[in-house]
């Protein structure tokens, strides 16, 4: 025994089993992910901070430190404040609408009915279709002349041609439109999240609630929703983060109009920083997303942890 052990010990390199050590193997697996985050998230973020503290424009690319002046100027601007408010309305509105649609959609496709599999597959479509294509389709539906929505309402006798709304032309309606399109894009994701949650609720618990006298609403809002809340919150974090930082729907549908009724932070940052070339102010606008999202994620993660204990 001693001889064999010595032989193995003696003839092998001490690095031969190096990947059997958890510390080494773990580090090897984690490195690509850490590099990815550092290079594609961390570095741009630091660059944004760097530019936001400068007077950098594409016309005058020399670095000149100005402290928090850009932030002060941005906050004092009416358009920025309007945009910040828009971003919250857009995010909260489309998340609430998406969650409601997702909840009822999930309940609907849970019940067996002929063609359920096809419906389940179709429901994923809004999520899978490229957003640019989908938004163009929505643009036509909201068009001031050719809107199918107006056409349908007039054909049903619910409104006259004179009252037909100009969906994208009126500030309030335009905001409603971008919210609807974003909720439409988000709700398949919400359905998947709710389906995963609801199917994970034990049948015994649902049966017990039925026998204990809980009707449809009580079963849903006192039993199912609290049980699946942690899963839904994770979905909500994703949805909120993606919506808060998104600019594509607004850019494609209204391009911020009419009269600055719809731009969100992403649009304004893009407008100032890239299109107008004022990188410093553009970076400052974009950085306003950070504290909001940071707080949001912390609050939601705390909520999840509290539910799990």
């Amino acid at each position: 025994m001693v001889a064999i052990a010595e032989k193995i010990h003696g003839s092998r390199s001490r690095f031969q089993f190096v990947f059997d050590r958890p510390r080494v193997l773990g580090a090897a697996f984690l490195t690509p992910a850490i590099l990815y985050i550092l290079l594609l998230v961390g570095l741009p973020f630091l660059l944004a901070v760097y530019y936001a503290l400068s007077a950098y424009t594409i016309y005058n690319p020399s670095y000149h430190f100005v402290g928090l002046r850009n932030f002060v100027e941005v906050v004092e601007s009416d358009i920025f404040r309007r945009t910040l408010l828009n971003t919250f309305i857009f995010t909260i509105g489309s998340q609430i609408l998406g969650l409601i649609l997702g909840k009822f959609g999930a309940l609907l496709v849970l019940r067996p009915f002929p063609g359920r599999k096809i419906v389940r597959a179709l429901i994923i479509l809004p999520w899978a279709v490229p957003i640019a294509l989908a938004t163009v389709a929505w643009e036509w539906m909201f068009d001031s002349l050719y809107s199918v929505i107006n056409w349908t309402l007039i054909a049903l006798g619910l409104m006259s041609r004179a009252d037909a709304p100009n969906w994208l032309g009126e500030p309030g309606l335009a905001m409603l439109c971008v919210i609807i399109v974003n909720a439409w894009r988000f709700f398949p994701f919400a359905i998947v999240i709710f389906l995963a949650g609801i199917t994970a609720v034990p049948q015994d618990v649902l049966d017990a609630a039925t026998v204990d006298g809980a009707g449809f609403w009580r079963r849903n809002y006192q039993i199912i929703v609290p049980i699946i809340a942690p899963i839904v919150v994770v979905g909500l974090i994703f949805g909120t983060v993606f919506t808060f930082t998104d600019l594509s729907i607004v850019y494609l549908l209204t391009n911020g109009g009419p009269v600055n009724a719809t731009p969100v932070l992403g649009n304004l940052g893009f407008q100032i920083g890239i299109l107008s070339g004022d990188v410093a102010h553009g970076a400052a606008v974009s950085l306003f997303m950070f504290p909001v999202l940071f707080l949001l994620v912390i609050v939601m993660l705390r909520f999840i942890r509290r539910r799990e204990i």
């Binding site: 618990v205 649902l206 049966d207 609630a209 039925t210 204990d212 049980i227 809340a229």
Partner: protein, 341 residues
């Protein structure tokens, strides 16, 4: 009057008949056990009584009134599920109070009622915890308390002990039975465990393939089985069956004894070859086969070790064994009990 009766209840799932014209009357205050192998339809039948499933045909009567189509909450039943079905996000107190809240019982009445149920089951100290902090036995008591709190006319228990370990199961069995005797509520108890059925049931309904095979007291089921299925399903080891004319002859392992141990009465003798013996402390199980008039057949004997010394029965030996004639059961070719062979 029967507390619950089922008339010709059937349930089909597509082509499959899960419950096949079951009729059963449960008396007021009775502890009725539905016993059968898994997949025999006993749980489906219980869920039909609860109103969680709709029967394809037949009537359910609770307290003399037909309750077909009446939702579970209006049937005056309480149910305990196999994995208890506790609400994970509620405290134990809220779990027990839930049936009262859904019935809109005024708040001041809920607290004492919950305290009463918790005290009856000895779980007062757990009221502020959540289900996941409780052991299996404790969860099961919470489920019972939740069932008890609404004063149901019937308890429906669906394999409530199957998630407990063997040791706990024996004590929980005793507790449930004592508890039921104390509150006196009519109970239907589903199980696949014949020990639970024999130990707890006032009467047992043995179910197989969606049909009731026999209803009777544990004594009747054991000593006077209606057919071959009941005879072999109840009892450990199961009843011995040997082919006999066109049917079968059955006798319990504990009735199959060395001839010299039976002093009185008419007996049927067998020549028995011992293959193997098992010493289990309180008893001895002997595995062997019969020969003689019959073709060789596997037969088990259960002997009290005090009566027969271990050394006297060795593998490979032939012994004269016998059964009292009164303890033989004859089954015809369909497996039905025949009184005379």
């Amino acid at each position: 009057m029967s507390a619950i009766s089922a008339n010709e209840i059937s349930k089909n799932f597509g082509e499959v008949t899960a419950v096949d014209r079951i009729s059963l009357a449960v008396r007021d205050g009775e502890f009725m056990v539905l016993l059968g192998p898994s997949g025999c339809g006993k749980t489906t039948f219980l869920r039909i009584i609860a109103g969680l499933e709709q029967q394809s045909a037949g009537d359910i009567l609770i307290g003399g009134a037909v309750v077909n189509g009446v939702p579970p909450r209006a049937r005056g039943i309480a149910m305990v599920f196999q994995s208890y079905g506790l609400y994970p996000h509620f405290t134990i107190r809220d779990n027990i109070a839930f049936p009262l809240k859904t019935q809109r019982v005024p708040k001041p009445q809920i607290r004492p009622k919950v305290a009463w149920a918790a005290q009856l089951l000895g779980i007062e100290h757990l009221l502020d915890r959540r289900p996941r902090q409780l052991s299996g036995g404790e969860r099961q008591r919470v489920a019972l308390a939740r069932a008890l709190v609404r004063d149901p006319t019937v308890f429906l228990l669906d394999e409530p002990l199957s998630n407990l370990d063997a040791k706990l199961r024996a004590s929980a069995r005793n507790e449930i039975k004592q508890f039921q005797q104390r509150v006196g509520t009519t109970t239907i108890y589903v199980t696949h465990d014949q020990v639970e059925a024999m130990g707890m049931g006032d009467r047992i309904a043995v179910i197989n393939q969606g049909k009731v095979r026999q209803v009777g007291t544990p004594t009747t089921i054991y000593e006077d089985p209606a057919d071959r299925f009941v005879a072999t399903f109840v009892g450990t080891p199961p009843m011995n069956l040997v082919t006999w004319n066109s049917g079968h002859l059955g006798f319990r392992p504990e009735h199959f004894l060395p001839k010299e141990m039976i002093q009185d009465g008419a007996v049927t003798e067998f020549s028995y070859r011992v293959n193997r013996t098992e010493y289990l402390g309180s008893e001895r199980i002997v595995y062997g086969e019969l020969d003689g008039l019959l073709s060789p057949q596997e037969v088990t004997a259960k002997l009290p070790p005090a009566h027969v010394p271990l050394e006297s029965i060795r593998p490979g030996e032939w012994h004269a064994f016998a059964v009292r004639n009164g303890q033989l059961c004859y089954f015809d070719e369909d497996g039905k009990r025949a009184r005379r062979h």
